[in-house]
Symmetry: C2
Subunit: 436 residues, 2 copies
């Protein structure tokens, strides 16, 4: 994957909260960081590939802990609609008609391009027909935790709900150990679209195969109402009563938690993944991030799918999440810049089972890093890089991207695949989608 | 200013809500639009300067109805602090020490660069030492409504509060009719920092000189408490009781309005200017945009100053404002994309007294337009341009900028002044600011 030695130097280095050097460098061997610190103290690295930051900010690649990448095809197809109209009249019919493995391959490549160009190096992606998505992220060179969707309805690539769990097994078995940056897993859609039996089967499969298991949980007040009606329990309590909560790796959304449920998630080792832009656009609500953190819960960030966001730009999530934390607490000191940024680093790494691998630039971690251009009016002057990243940067300042020591973006151009061709082919497909 | 004929063509044209052509063109003579519509029907324009959109989206330039541009110098200097600590221990001392006419000229130039490069062609800027800001925006070629700050404390350029109103008069008289794109006016800081006498003097001066008058109003719950204590009235009621509300052109923030006050603002012809990013970052609250619009109030958008935002990117405000409207109403259909976008066009134009001049691309309007690159992964595919602008664009896609028929940005480069030199000089000044 990554051959030999790499040295990234020539710019300020923000390696994680509290770790900043105005002039830093990162060295790696065979994709793993061997040094991160002041440039002057960097070891000589004979024969290394050198990436010059050119005054740009060197920092860890961002980690998008939840998205549905292939839904790039449906970006902007239907907005500003009540949730049930959006889902039932637009998204579900479009998915039934257009989603297959070639679609997920092509449209996940578009997602990968967008994420790389906005600084995301690791993604947690959950959708249907995930064999296509896995081929896409492998080709792109991104680090990816890919979860095959599981739902008790006919779904793309799994027309028989009874065979859905087999589709998950096939996907995980096909990709486990196959590609060094790809981890396959299972995504149970939700407690209101998966029966207790389906959820139990998912947990069993993930135990058997030792693979990640995520689900949407407590996204809307409607979900809370439905779960109460079906199971006389909240979504979290329902999973706990089934004995499955402790097996879950990440609960996505966590907008509508009941009293004590943040603490319960923490005790059960479940990470919360928040998707603030999607939750706002769909008017689902705002998760209590400071409450989750205070309860000891790991909290990651995701973009959700581009049909409900409508982009895959993680710094936008960081910015919104920070502002919403201040707004709902009435405290401008709530969730300060470095803590907000760390949701998309250490928090997301924990949700994806990648603690100690990504989210920091320090020896022993994978060399997944980005370089952002600082020589721009909206980032001038520079007093505090974390402040700029959260309150002023747009996510489009990313200039260089490295994953596991391999340069994937050079001077804003994706090196690993032909983005123009992908865009052209998605546009062609979108013409058919629009025609209906 | 703008010599002769201009033709912009070769891309989709979004000329305002409901006015979209997949392949459009805009023609102008002497800075005023003579045609906007399908490219095929564009009149022949012999000898015209031609700007090729290259498939980019042609749309009206954005209008930032409220900022403190020169505060770019303090961008990121102090964040995540309680409001009183931020103001009293950081902002006020920094302003007292560093703000003079050369600072406002230099740092407003930086603001102009940032705004032009993110698609803002018209700005409402309120600060101290506005002669410097006026020289900056004139040099940049931006359209600007510039308001000299008025406050009952010693302020930069006006150490004697008793002479503050004279400083305002001097500024307005110096710039009225001087430069075709610059409109001078007065900005009374707030009802809690300006006595009734100061507010009356401001209104009288603006009546005498026929110039715009804005003020911060109902920004925080603390302001409401202070005004109640001082005057036994809400901020809006206080201005109404003084007989001054009808003279006010725009009330900035309007987060904490009482019952019926949106209707009162509408009846008195006062536009509300909302600054959602700043109001969130400082935890001030969320203005009720749908309530204001329903009351018949004109609603514009502003970025506020870069010390409390921390950027001057108006599309970011549009995006946040739209999402917050959906969140607080619980209705994903609230403030749909075109309506959100129009806050930064027709709404801001009304706040700045520029109705019929800017905010639309149609014959008779000034030729203030931007071209945004659409050939980007995060804007692919394209079903609906307004959706992309509000839910997916970052504001950094702007490629060409034209103000009154004059091209100010070409292929992302500012033509009217040397941005690199400005950035270098602001960095030098920031080094001194940091040293204290």
């Amino acid at each position: 994957m990554a051959a030999g030695r790499l040295l990234v130097r020539g710019g300020p280095l923000w390696a994680g909260p509290g770790a900043y050097w105005p002039q830093g460098a990162v060295a790696a061997e065979d994709g793993w960081i061997t040094y991160a610190g002041p440039e002057d103290d960097a070891p000589p690295l004979e024969g290394a590939q050198v990436i010059e930051a050119g005054g740009g900010l060197i920092m860890p690649g961002l980690i998008n802990a939840h998205c549905h990448g292939a839904m790039t095809l449906f970006r902007g197809l239907a907005d500003d609609l009540p949730l049930d109209v959006w889902l039932n009249q637009h998204m579900f019919p479009a998915e039934a008609r257009w989603v297959d493995e070639e679609m997920t391959r092509l449209c996940s490549l578009l997602a990968a391009a967008e994420m790389l160009l906005s600084g995301t190096t690791t993604v947690g992606d959950a959708y249907f027909c995930m064999q296509g998505a896995a081929r896409a992220y492998e080709a792109a060179g991104m680090r990816a935790v890919l979860m095959q969707g599981l739902i008790d309805f006919p779904a793309p690539g799994a027309p028989e709900p009874a065979e859905n769990i087999q589709v998950c097994r096939d996907f995980v078995e096909a990709w486990q150990g196959k590609s060094p940056l790809i981890t396959p897993g299972v995504f149970a859609h939700s407690v209101y679209t998966c029966s207790p039996q389906t959820l139990e089967a998912a947990a069993e499969l993930c135990n058997e195969l030792s693979c990640p298991w995520h689900t949407h949980l407590a996204e809307t007040s409607e979900e809370v109402g439905q779960t109460a009606e079906l199971y006389q329990a909240s979504p979290v309590a329902h999973l706990e009563e089934l004995g499955l909560l402790a097996r879950l790796d990440a609960a996505v959304h966590c907008v509508w938690l009941g009293p004590g449920e943040a603490e319960l998630l923490a005790r059960r080792g479940v990470a919360a993944v928040l998707c603030p832009e999607s939750n706002a656009k769909l008017a689902s609500g705002v998760a209590d991030v400071t409450g989750l953190l205070a309860a000891g819960c790991a909290v990651g960030l995701g973009t959700d799918g581009p049909a409900s966001n409508n982009d895959l730009n993680l710094l936008g999530e960081v910015s919104l999440r920070s502002r919403l934390a201040k707004l709902i607490s009435g405290d401008p000191a709530a969730l300060p810049a470095e803590a907000a940024l760390d949701l998309a680093l250490a928090g997301s790494a924990q949700a994806l089972g990648l603690v100690g691998v990504v989210g920091r630039l320090q020896p022993g971690y994978a060399c997944d890093l980005i370089v952002l251009d600082l020589d721009l009016p909206h980032l001038t002057p520079l007093y505090n890089p974390a402040s700029h990243l959260v309150y002023a940067a747009s996510g489009r300042e990313v200039r260089q991207v490295v994953v596991q020591g391999r340069q994937l973006v050079k001077d804003r151009e994706v090196l690993s695949f032909d983005v123009n061709e992908v865009m052209a082919r998605v546009r062609e497909l979108a013409t058919k989608v629009r025609a209906g």
